[in-house]
């Protein structure tokens, strides 16, 4: 086998069973990567089971900032038998396969670039399969040019609560891995050249669920009641972990209906509540979403999308719930929908969701997906502590009327026992005081009042992030988690007549949307769903139709290569 050279952007995929500790490898590796001066991106894809099956993590390491998933695999590490089967299409002749002979499928053994390491034998010596991930960490860390010391330190930290024997064995495993890899490098089989940069060393590495969680904390979230549901649970767990520090009430509800009704009770009493769920759980919240509309309660709802309908593929990704987020809940009332593209969007928009919900007394939905939740990358601390939680409720007096008619439809929001006023909220149609009414005129005015709020909300819509050319013939539209992948693809295509518009606010639609799009000759939309839901909505709002739809709905996210190829195909079609 010839010596292998990898330059500036490397994608490592490690594949194993659930329970083999892929997540640890991923997290430790990304920490090692930035401390060594590399940019890093990771994405885990896994089955809906706790042990066995086949999961993988992609770790991209690069000299430039990278934040998206690629199909390309530079290094593939199978951690068990059967770990290669699902990667047939992605393991290329250029891929370096590193692993135990017994974990490598026969078909690769002749024609592919394989570096055998006697994983099983070493494991046996160490006394258990559980050390395999430490070994791999040692192995890769050397490849990346980490010092042995930093590798060891990370492992030590990781296992500090595990008793001496376990720590020692893991250290031993790291050491073995490190040495193995030294041998290989020395044997000149390998050469990785990724430019280092000091910049990243002080970076954060954030998963999507952490970004949403941090945004929530910054937005003043002090109440979360939810029901576990993949892929949204990470947000819940993150807030639980930080509950004591930040004074957050965390309660696992008996079901999603309870969760959101608790959330509404919390806002009513002066808390700042959110729920986190997935499409199926959100479906159960529809009635209470409508209640938020009726009582004009703030509410923040995070939906981590996964493929539906029904249970679908619990641990996979999709963007299939936009229209149901937009129209769930009976009756007519305002709402706001965000869909963060990258982790920074995740923090900012979640923070903003709390402020907007409070300001406009309306539910705000944040749409992410499994790809967003379970991918991570390094980023700057952009000054999150500067984000303020704005409170919009007021001290009430004797004459307080919860639904006082105001010019813009937004009545002052009171809180029980905060002032002398009495705060009445009612799911029935109500008068200004919150008393049930059957008066047809009051009804009409209350509908108008609620709908009126949309006007103020529309004044604060966020324009899509634009990348690519300013003088574009081709406009590519995407939303939510597709953003970074699309942007990287557009950058790769490197034409000066193409622009990419990544929407992070889906509803209400940025009012300059038609202007942005109509100047393009050809419009392309990219969505991780089967029916182009956002495209449908843009048509409804602007009359503009997309010429080409790039849709994916097999449960996996788009890769940079796929989008690149599909856009090129679309451009060729002219």
């Amino acid at each position: 086998m010839n010596s292998i050279q990898l330059n500036n952007d490397m994608s490592i995929v490690i594949s194993g069973e659930a329970g083999q500790g892929l997540q640890s490898i991923e997290q430790i590796m990304s920490n090692l990567a930035i401390s060594s001066g590399y940019n890093v991106f990771t994405y885990s894809e896994f089955m809906s089971r706790i042990r066995g099956g086949n999961n993988s993590t992609e770790i991209r390491i690069s000299s430039k900032r990278i934040t998206s998933y690629v199909d390309r695999i530079d290094i593939f590490i199978p951690m068990c038998k059967g770990a290669m089967f699902r990667f047939k299409g992605r393991i290329a002749k250029e891929t370096i396969i590193i692993g135990d002979v017994s974990h490598i499928d026969e078909m690769y053994k002749d024609a592919y670039r394989i570096i055998y390491i006697p994983l099983l034998k070493i494991m046996k010596e160490l006394g258990g399969n559980t050390y395999i991930n430490s070994l791999i960490i040692g192995f890769i860390s050397n490849l990346l040019g980490s010092t042995f010391d930093s590798a060891i330190k990370t492992i030590e930290k990781r296992f500090k609560n595990f008793g001496e024997e376990i720590i020692n064995n893991n250290m031993e495993a790291v050491k073995t891995g490190f040495e193995l890899s030294c041998e290989i490098i020395e044997a000149d089989k390998f050469c990785i050249q990724i430019e280092k940069t000091e910049d990243v060393k002080n970076n954060l590495i954030l998963y999507g669920y952490e970004a949403i969680g941090l945004g929530a904390i910054a937005g003043g979230c002090n109440f979360i009641s939810s029901y576990p549901m993949s892929p949204s649970t990470g947000v819940f767990t993150f807030l639980a972990k930080n509950a004591e520090t930040f004074g957050i009430i965390v309660e696992q509800a008996e079901d999603e209906i309870s969760a959101i009704n608790m959330g509404l009770g919390a806002w009513y009493a002066g808390g700042r509540a959110m729920v986190t769920t997935s499409g199926g759980g959100f479906a159960l919240m529809a009635e209470a979403l409508s209640l938020a509309g009726a009582i004009e309660s703030p509410m923040v709802i995070h939906i981590g999308q996964r493929p539906g309908p029904a249970t679908g593929m619990p641990t996979r990704t999709e963007q299939g719930d936009f229209l149901t987020a937009l129209y769930s809940g009976h009756g007519e009332f305002p709402r706001i929908i965000f869909a963060p593209g990258d982790k920074e969007d995740g923090i900012r928009l979640t923070h903003q969701a709390f402020n907007m919900a409070d300001k406009f007394q309306t539910p705000v939905i944040i749409l992410t997906d499994q790809y967003f939740m379970d991918s991570s990358n390094n980023m700057n601390d952009f000054g999150i502590t500067g984000l303020k939680a704005e409170k919009y409720f007021e001290i009430t007096d004797d004459k307080y009327a919860r639904y006082k008619f105001m010019g813009n439809g937004i009545s002052p929001r009171g809180i029980p026992d905060h002032g002398r006023g009495i705060v009445r909220v009612d799911s029935d149609e109500h008068d200004e005081n919150g008393y049930l009414t059957e008066d047809f005129n009051v009804r009409k005015n209350m509908v108008n009042k609620r709908i009126k709020k949309m006007e103020s909300i529309k004044q604060e819509t966020i324009p899509p992030a634009q990348s690519g050319s300013n003088h574009y013939k081709y406009a590519v539209v995407c939303w939510g988690s597709v953003r970074n992948t699309a942007e990287e693809a557009i950058a790769a295509i490197a034409r000066n007549d193409i622009a990419c518009f990544s929407f992070t606010q889906l509803y209400p639609l940025y009012n300059g949307t038609a202007d942005l799009l109509k100047s393009a000759e050809k419009l392309i939309i990219i969505e991780n769903n089967a029916t182009s839901q956002f495209g449908t909505f843009i048509k409804q709002e602007t009359g503009i139709e997309f010429d080409h739809k790039i849709l994916k709905y097999n449960g996996m996210p788009f890769s940079v290569e796929e989008i690149t190829a599909e856009i090129n195909k679309a451009l060729l079609k002219e």
Binding site: E210, I217, L264, A266, Y268, G270, I295, I384, T385, S427
Partner: protein, 288 residues
Amino acid sequence: MSNVFEPEVDTDIAWCPGCGNFSIHQILLKTLSELKIKQQKLVLVSGIGQAAKTPQYINSNYFNGLHGRALPVATAVKSCNPELTVIAISGDGCVYGEGGNHFIHAIRRNPDITCIVHNNMVYGLTKGQASPTSRKGFISSLQISGVYSEPFNPLAVAISLNASFVARAYSADEKQTIEVLKIAIKHRGFSLVDIFQPCVSFNKLNTYKWYKENTYYLDDSHDPGNKVEAFKKAVENEKYPLGIFYTNTDNLPFEKHLPVYKDSNEPMYKRNVDSDKLAELMKNMKKN
């Protein structure tokens, strides 16, 4: 003595003449006044139904939410501001039917709230269908040949779940019901007060007369601290006992467990994000 909880305006009360809800309304007004609860500190949470209209006729903060969903709302209100007195008040259909799952789990959680159920053994507002507590044989437009399901036994279920306070009252007995309600509201933890309430329009089986004939009061010999005895009483159905069946203080109230109130009792609305801590968290995340 003027009662601050008396409805401000002369509202047209939407109940049928003769309905047991009127007595419960009066009982509640008196209880609240006698307990000297500060008006601003009371929150009534209800669902939807005839019983659930009660807060409309009380000069109090209220959250008149969805059918079946009073308890999660009440739990959250109390937990965001433990200084409030929180009463969830709704019908048997609302609490035991649509809201059955919240009933179970609110009891397990044990927030310090009082749950008053106007148990008329029928769906009043929707015109007379059977409710979970309807007796076997009860005939309605949907239960053409009579109810055949076992009636829901809220007291026995609450006791099985080791509820903190379990009582049954009867709307026509003002004095006793006020007494029970006062104890229930003062009791720390989840208090269930199921109130038998005649529905004169749709329940021709469980009438004032029926209740009179089919109830009796638990006497001093009953020990509310004894779970098995309480259960025995709760499953009696020759005649239905009234009074306090069961109390226990095994469990702290929900909100007392919450770490947010460890160092301070300040309600949530007064609190702000600690940006120093946020900065520190960010710093820690960097190191991972």
